[in-house]
Structure formats: structure tokens, C-alpha cells
Amino acid sequence: MKGTYMNLFCPKTKSLMKKFKNYLFFSILFLFYFVNYSQFLENMNVSFESYSAYYLDDKKTGDFKLENRFRSNNYLNLKSIFAKNWNFELQIESYMPKPLLNYSPNFENTNISTLKFEYNIKDLNVVFGSIYEQFGSGTSLRTWEDKSLGINNSLLGLNVNYKLSDEINLTSLIGQQKKGFKYSKGFVFGLDSEIDISQLIDSNSTFLFGLSYVGRNDQEIKSESFDNLTNLYSARIDYSGNSFYTNLEITQKSNNPILVFGTPSDTFIKKGSAYLLNTGFFNKGLGLDFTFRRLENMTLYSEISAAGNEFNESIVNYLPALTKQHDYSLTNLYVYAAQPDVNFYVEDLTKAGEIGFQTDLYYSFKKESFLGGKYGTSISANFSLWNNLGGKYDFLNQSYKTDFLSFGEKYFSELSFEIRKKWSKSFENIFLYVNQYYDKRMIEFESGQVKSNIFVVDNTFKINDKKSFRLELQHLSTKNDNKNWYAYGIEYNISSSFSIYYNNLYNYQNPDEDKKINYYNFGGSYTMGMNRLAVNYGRQRGGLVCTGGICRYVPESTGITFSIITSIF
């Protein structure tokens, strides 16, 4: 039970702990039944989500070798305004008998995941309990929840937000960070201020200025060589005019030990930094955007020892990959994950962070014009390039010195081009072309670089207001790695509530005959207002799977999955 939620209050022995847990569980239930019949119910909101799977043996990909074929993740959430100015939130999660594959083993059995009392009056907002907060773009701090990614890194503690005036907003917080049902031993605390300068000078444009501080104090690992307190200082400025905007954010991280073979080094200690510049131009029908970012040794963990953990737990700041986030399966085979950290595992593959940029263009052709047609046409393009930091790397002596604007070896680049065209009231197309370069060697420490070209055609046929049919065709061609793939998907929306689909990915040119596998999935869903039931049967691809900027290695699996989402409002 070490380190669990209740442990923060008063645990001495295991049996006492268990009794306390049960006591707490039934007290909360009692409380609910009590409020059930009280007037507070008027403002109560309950939702329930359940995702379950029954894993099967597969002739092609092998037997299911882990314990518990049936696995289930369940989330019960209650929110209420229980008194004037007071909000309450409770989320109970149950992973019974085990969590779904790819979820952290720190999710065990049933426990409280979010417990929050919030006081709101005029310009003051105070949260006791689970804190979800973000400073600036999240480079110094972001605590958030995404159930599908298994992420909930909220802080358990105190958060105070005060609006000093119309122009000035202050936020402070302190807490211990959640990892599964456990909590970090290290403390995280922070301060953020934002000033709206445009209001002070009465300007039509917007001018915002922000300063933040985030500290992490972890006393678990002591050493004379490094400080247990790591500090992050950040400054940002944001300008928006009538057709132009620009913003700059700079974050500095104090000395922190680099992890060598899983333990923090006494000699390899480095500072970190993040520079983010974003600028854009826009007009009716046209949008252009450019982002530059340089990250060096930048991830902050609430526990020093958590560095590099495979479940992305205990991460205080948010450093996502700045590339186009795709929605089609073959465009997500070789996905770039941001490389914010120092890595000296392999000689010749030493890295200290990333430097690069991405740019976006959006344009719409007017309706009734030659290219616009009756219903209009829109196009978009994206280009991104990410490299290692240029500089001198000394593998044997474990040290490096980077140059500020120098591009090292390339990790990834991507060019994509998309056209959306509605031909008639009942037929619509999306065409997508993607050219990718992905260095498996630099990113995953596996052999090979992959250059690929991907084509996607998405066709939607609307039969009437309730029925529609969608056909998705994809092809990926590459001479590297596992060679060519194709994929297709069909989706039939039978009514506004019922939908069925079938899709398949096939690596038809894989040099290994045994690895020519159809990753097929079929299923259906029933949606009625806030209630949704979905069933899927199929085979999931393994490897590095990335969604929402978070990448994880997942094993291949075959099985039946079903999900229930319901909410009563």
C-alpha cells in the first residue's frame, strides 16, 4: 500500500489501512445516498465509462501469455455544486481484475482517482484536492487527464487562482503528483502570473505577458553532487493583431542529474532549456503559421528516479511533438515523438534534445470560383523538420556542449498536403499525400531510416439525413523497414444511432512471410444522446503507437473489446 492515496493521511499497518479503505469507501457511498435525497441533487452530474477486453489466442500472432484474459477499466465520475460557491468532484476508478494492456501496473483494483473541493467567489478560485492546471503552453507545468492514454498526472494539494484586477491573474499551487493510484514522494509547487498589457495601454491588439516558476523537491535520492530541488523559470509574451500574431516562450531548468543505466549520475549533471517561437499571418480564407522550438534536457519528473519510465508517469511538464497529428492508420505507422531529453545509451547515437520547426498553410477557394465549385474547396499543407542539437558529444567522458542554433543529425521530417472537396450534396472527398522521413536508429535505437510516401482517399456518400457510407483507401510505399502497406476501411451509418465498420491494415510486402499479417477490425456502435455502446473484434498492431502526442510501445493483441459511456444530465 506504500505511497497510495490514503497513505498520505494516516496509514500505519496494512490491516488498518485496509479497514480504513473500506471505511472510506462505504462512508463515501453513504454520503452519496444521503445527498441522493437532498436538494443538492439538482446540480449533481454522474457519468460512467467502461472499457473492457477479452483477449484471445491468435494463430498468426501467438497465444495470449499474460494472466487474466478478461480485463476492464471503469470510471465513475460525480460532480456537484453542493453549497453556494462550492463544487465537488469525485472519480472512482476500477481496474478489475486487471487494467487493459498498455496501462500502468500502478492502476490496481478500485480506488479514488480524483477528489476535489472547489471554492469560487468573485475573483478567487481555490481547489483542495486534485489539481488540473497548465502554465503557459505547458512547457513548465501541465497536469491533465486522458483516459484513453492512461494519463492522469494531477497534483493532490492546494491550488489558488486570484484575479488581482482585470489585467492581472495569479495562480499558485503545491501538491504531490499522481501516478496510477499512487502519489509521488517528491513535491511540486509553482507560481504563474499573467498580465494583459493591452488593457493597460488601451490597445486594439492583444498583448499578454506571463512569468512562471515551477519547483520540484524530491528527497528520495540524496547526493552531494546535485540539489534535490530543481527549478524551472519561464517567461512568455504574446501579441495578436488584426492579421498577424507572434508569441515567444523561454524556459530555463536548473541543474539536474542525467540518468545513466537507470540511476542518476553524480557526475553527469546538466541544465535544461526550452525556446518556443510561434508566428502567423491570417486573412479571410488564408492562414499561415510557423513554429520554431529548441529543447535541451527539458523533461521534469516529480520523482528523480522516474526519468524515462515507459508509461509516461510522473511528468510535470508537457513537451509534445510539434508535427501534424494524423487521423489515418498508415500515417500513424512512423510517428515522431518529441526528443526533449539527454540520452547517452549508445555511442554515436548520443542526443541532448531537439531543434526544428513546422509550418502550416490553410486556404479555401471561394464557392462558385473555378476551383471552388458549387460547394467550395479547401487545401492545407504542413512541413516539419526535427533534428538533434548540434554540438560536441563526448560519449566516454559523458559530457556534451551544444551550439544554440546548430542542427545536428535529422530525426524526422514530413511534408503533407490535403484537399477537401465536396462535389455534390451527397458526395465528399478528402485527398491526403504525406512524405515522411523517420530515423528509427536515432529515435528508437533500432536499425534503419524509413523514407515513405503515403496516399489516402476518403470518400463519404450521404444516402439521406440518417444513412451514409464511407470508404477509406490508404497506401504506404517505402523501400525500407517492412516495405509497403495498404489499408482500407468501410463504415456504414445505418441510422443516426447505429453504425458498423470494417477495416484492415496489411503489410503486403513484408520480407518475412510470417509477418504478412492482416490487422483487421470490425465492430459497431449504438449512440443515443449521451449514451454509447460499442463492440469491436480484431487484431491490434503492436509497436510504437502514438496518439495525442504521447507514444508508447504496445504489444500485439487479438480480442473482443467493448465500451460503455453513459451520463445522466
Binding site: 505547458g138 483516459k147 484513453s148 500574431y245 486573412n283 467550395g376 477537401r420
Partner: protein, 168 residues
């Protein structure tokens, strides 16, 4: 004990399902495209209904829905509807919001819910997600989007307007 707990949890869910009703948009802060803070309270539409559509730049069905609404935006305006498109893009993709909405030239209000606080407060598990509000009261919710859903939503709004006019 475990089974007992599960039993009680299930019982609670069913018990609550018949009794509970939170039917209001919570008072929360969103950001405007320019980065200014705005409260959901100030988004209520005095003349008619407000449609909240939760979307993201990377979500294909979300963009299909907003494109389809925008194609007939004049009809929606005639029905006195305020469309509020809430982007749930976080700092990975939020920089794409401004060029995209300008490139698309959508004729409705866009706000940012960058750390997904409003999305969490409304228990939205996935997008697209559409909510119809009169004043602050939620009168309709829908998960997902299929072609044609926007027409059904429009019909629903007309019927609600009719009901409301009859009451007056």
C-alpha cells in the same frame, strides 16, 4: 468484499441514473483566439439557443460537422442560434487553430479549452461532442458526428424554437 463493492457501485449508478440531473453549462473560463480569458456565462444567447461543438484540428469528423454547419450558416443564424466551436487542441496542435479557422473562413465563434477543463467538467470522453443550451440549461447532447446529423440537429432546434414561441 470486492464483489460487495462492485455491487454497491453498480447499485449507485442505477440509483443515480433515475434521480440526477445536472443540466447546466458550468461557469468556466475559456480563451479567445487572441489569448484573452472569457467565461462561459457570457456566451449565453438571450435571443435563442446556443450550440456548443467540441472539436480539434486533428479530428476529421469534427471538421466535417463544422464545415457542414458553415455551408448553411445563414439558415442557422435565421434560427437565432449561436454556434460556439470549442477547440480542445492542447499545446501540441493549438497553433494550428488560428490558421485553420481563417483558412476555412468559418462564420462562427471559436474558443480554446486548452487544458480541456470544460471538456472534463462536462464529462466529455471523446470528440466530436455537441451540446445545445437554452440560457445556461442543457437541453440536448450528442456524442460523435455522422453526415446528416447537422440536419437533424437543425430540425431539433426549429422544433425547440417553435415550442418556446408557443409558451410565450
Amino acid at each position: 468484499m470486492k464483489n460487495l463493492k462492485i455491487y454497491f457501485i453498480c447499485l449507485s449508478i442505477f440509483n443515480f441514473s433515475f434521480l440526477l440531473s445536472q443540466d447546466r453549462i458550468p461557469s468556466m473560463n475559456l480563451k479567445t483566439i487572441d489569448g484573452k480569458t472569457i467565461n462561459t456565462k457570457s456566451l449565453s444567447n438571450k435571443n435563442g439557443l446556443t450550440v456548443y461543438s467540441f472539436w480539434a484540428t486533428w479530428c476529421v469528423p469534427c471538421i466535417n460537422e463544422l464545415d457542414d454547419i458553415d455551408k448553411e450558416i445563414d439558415k442557422w443564424k435565421e434560427a437565432k442560434v449561436n454556434i460556439v466551436a470549442v477547440s480542445t487542441d492542447d499545446s501540441r496542435t493549438k497553433r494550428r487553430v488560428r490558421p485553420m479557422i481563417n483558412g476555412k473562413n468559418w462564420d462562427f465563434a471559436i474558443y480554446l479549452d486548452e487544458n480541456q477543463d470544460l471538456k472534463r467538467a462536462l464529462n466529455i470522453s471523446g470528440i466530436p461532442h455537441t451540446i445545445v443550451v437554452r440560457g445556461n440549461k442543457i437541453i440536448y447532447r450528442r456524442i460523435g458526428y455522422k453526415p446528416g446529423d447537422e440536419r437533424n440537429l437543425y430540425e431539433f432546434i426549429l422544433s425547440q424554437n417553435k415550442k418556446f414561441d408557443e409558451k410565450i
